[in-house]
């Protein structure tokens, strides 16, 4: 058995033992997300527009992660709408910044990987860079949206008569509880993955100026910042979506 298969099966067993049906769902969503990512890549290789492919993949991935992750149907629906809104805002932000910073493709540090490769590709790597940045934030958006929506759903369950204004305040309070640890999840996730690059910088004695303008590093830091912004934006958007949905539910109830 290959190592990946063994680890995958072990993860399935752990998830089912600890989380039961929910564990199984979590495992399925991970496998599904991998398939979606791989499929998106193949479509890009067939010259479909990378950004369009990414947007469609993004919405599907958010739906799968959120609906397979949550329990309460109303709060998961709200989380999904909010996360799609964040995704759209993020795309509007990412496209101009990536055009500005031009971090697409490969840097001088990649030359070993590129040896013997043809770089006549016919795919706009600027669009690929936009896609990469969007895809890398999807998990963070879904997680934050679920956390806020689930937290608010619980508050609503315990205090069904809470005013909408207090509900909004509660959303920000839940947000302030998750923001510190979520930022660190993102920081370590990204910087852990790029440890080798930093060791390279230190070993070759890059100057601060070289580091701050390096294509690979700037691209990486931009991805961390996009993820962080998406998490920050998720907090008010999910809260407002929850308040709006509750307002509508109460109107119906009055009628």
């Amino acid at each position: 058995m290959g190592t990946i298969t063994a680890l995958g099966l072990l993860l399935l067993i752990c998830m089912v033992v600890v989380g039961g049906t929910q564990g199984l769902q979590a495992w399925i969503s991970l496998i599904f997300n991998f398939a979606a990512l791989f499929f998106a890549m193949v479509l890009m290789a067939f010259h479909l527009s990378p950004v369009l492919v990414t947007l469609v993949t993004g919405v599907i991935v958010l739906a799968m992660t959120i609906f397979l992750g949550g329990n309460d149907s109303n709060s998961t629906m709200v989380a999904f709408y909010a996360s799609v809104a964040v995704l759209i805002l993020l795309v509007i932000l990412i496209i101009p910044i990536e055009h500005w910073a031009q971090i697409q493709g490969f840097g001088q540090e990649d030359s070993e990987d590129l040896e013997g490769m043809s770089t006549i590709l016919g795919i706009s790597y600027l669009n690929v860079a936009v896609s990469t940045a969007i895809l890398s934030t999807l998990g963070a958006i879904a997680e934050a949206a679920i956390a806020i929506a689930a937290g608010l759903a619980e508050i609503l369950e315990q205090h069904p008569k809470i005013t909408l204004k207090n509900l909004q305040g509660a959303g920000f309070k839940v947000g302030s509880q998750i923001i510190g640890t979520t930022f660190n999840t993102l920081f370590f996730g990204f910087f852990g993955g790029f440890l080798a690059l930093f060791i390279w910088f230190a070993g070759v004695h890059y100057s601060l100026g070289e580091i701050l303008n390096d294509k690979i590093l700037v691209g990486e830091v931009l991805m961390v910042l996009f993820s962080m912004m998406s998490v920050i934006a998720t907090i008010p958007l999910t809260t407002w979506a929850m308040v709006a949905s509750e307002r509508q539910a109460r109107k119906k109830f009055v009628k």
């Binding site: 590129l114 890398s136 998990g139 879904a142 993955g193």
Partner: protein, 378 residues
């Protein structure tokens, strides 16, 4: 007098995020005009002329446009400041390894002197302003929307960033020989410091720290056992990027750091919820604490594993596309570009799941009351 001071105090409490935003904005403006700080000559591009455009193709039937452009600009720093310069630049439209430039951009130059004439080639694009702007935007959003908790989150990230850089330099000074010791040890320091900033020093923080370190260690031990049993078949260390030292320990160090944040996130969530539960219902039994903790953990583990999965695997997309366009099979492309990221996601995933019983166990033992587990069983 006291009234006046109070007023001033509340004024600051209300408006400090906006002052930071304005200060940061000025800083970004400074970065946009920092050319004088660089030793390397910088050219500000004033006009771009497209000279020619040619179709190119390779042996895999990929087609691309090769564009030649002529850039005119003025040097903005150093001894040649003010000199006009014309530079030719050739790029492929896909821009995977070459770049096309446009008016208004600034580039770093490598200057050649021949017979008193000045000629130059472009070595890199100046990206510091874009980076500073995006960082400023993030910090502004964070402070204006989240205020104090945003400031704490920012502080912990900055502290961790500084520590991370110190550790990287330490690793370089020891020639990478003890990379696992350095980053394994640092993971503990990272966790302790971050939790101190986010939670503060108390029993809850110590419990969370214990669960975080335990969960991360457990995931690495499990990974090593699986590696030994499967003889690391399908783990292609040679596909690791930017490697300047022994890849295997480096990979493990990356995995430890990568999963640390998520495991910490999860233990914080579980233990904080359980502490709140205990405060609400002081007579709750240890067993019930364990059970609720498992339920909370079960809800957050799926989304968390996916967070790391997208971070680890999405960034392999550009290289994977390059492999596919060079007529490599899907399987080979996966092995050479994505497989290590997938292995990392799976190891972190196992860590995230195993942390749940660990965090619940620690909490129920510490705050579960004086009744023993045995007597609680019905």
């Amino acid at each position: 007098m006291i009234d006046e001071a109070d007023k001033q105090h509340s004024f600051w409490r209300r408006w400090w995020p906006y002052f930071v935003v304005i200060l940061g904005g000025l800083l970004v403006l400074g970065v946009a005009h920092d050319d004088g700080l660089y030793q390397t000559p910088i050219l500000s591009i004033q006009s771009v002329k497209k000279m020619s455009s040619q179709k190119q193709s390779d042996q895999f039937n990929n087609e691309d446009q090769q564009v030649e452009q002529q850039l005119r600009g003025v040097i903005t720093n150093g001894q040649h400041k003010g000199r006009q310069l014309t530079i030719d630049n050739t790029y492929l439209k896909s821009q995977a390894t070459t770049l096309g430039y446009h008016t208004g951009q600034k580039v770093f130059l490598t200057v050649h002197h021949n017979h008193g004439n000045l000629s130059a080639t472009i070595s890199n694009l100046k990206r510091d302003t874009a980076l500073a702007f995006t960082a400023w935007l993030t910090v502004s959003l964070l402070l204006v929307l989240m205020r104090f908790s945003g400031l704490m989150a920012l502080t912990s990230v900055i502290v961790n960033g500084v520590l991370f850089w110190l550790a990287v330099n330490w690793n370089t000074n020891t020639q990478g020989g003890i990379v696992l010791v350095i980053f394994g040890g640092l993971a503990i320091v990272f966790a302790a410091l971050t939790l101190l900033i986010v939670i503060g020093f108390n029993r809850q923080m110590l419990m969370t720290l214990l669960a975080t370190i335990g969960g991360t260690a457990l995931s690495i031990i499990v990974a090593l056992v699986v590696f030994a049993l499967t003889h690391e078949r399908g783990v292609y260390y040679e596909s690791m990027q930017y490697v300047t030292q022994l890849p295997r320990p480096l990979f493990l160090a990356e995995t430890i750091l990568g999963s640390l944040g998520a495991v910490m996130d999860e233990s914080t969530d579980i233990i904080a919820s359980l502490m709140a539960l205990k405060a609400e219902k002081p007579d709750i039994s240890a067993k019930q604490i364990f059970k609720s903790g498992r339920q909370i953990g079960g809800e957050i583990m799926g989304p968390l594993v996916n967070v790391l999965f997208f971070i680890f695997v999405a960034e392999t997309l550009p290289l994977a596309l390059l492999f596919l366009k060079n007529a490599n099979s899907w399987g080979y492309t996966f092995n050479m570009t994505m497989s290590l990221g997938v292995v990392q996601s799976l190891i972190s995933g196992i860590g995230i799941v195993l942390t749940i019983p660990l965090a619940c166990g620690i909490t129920s033992l510490m705050i579960g009351g004086h009744q023993s587990w045995g007597r609680l069983r019905h």
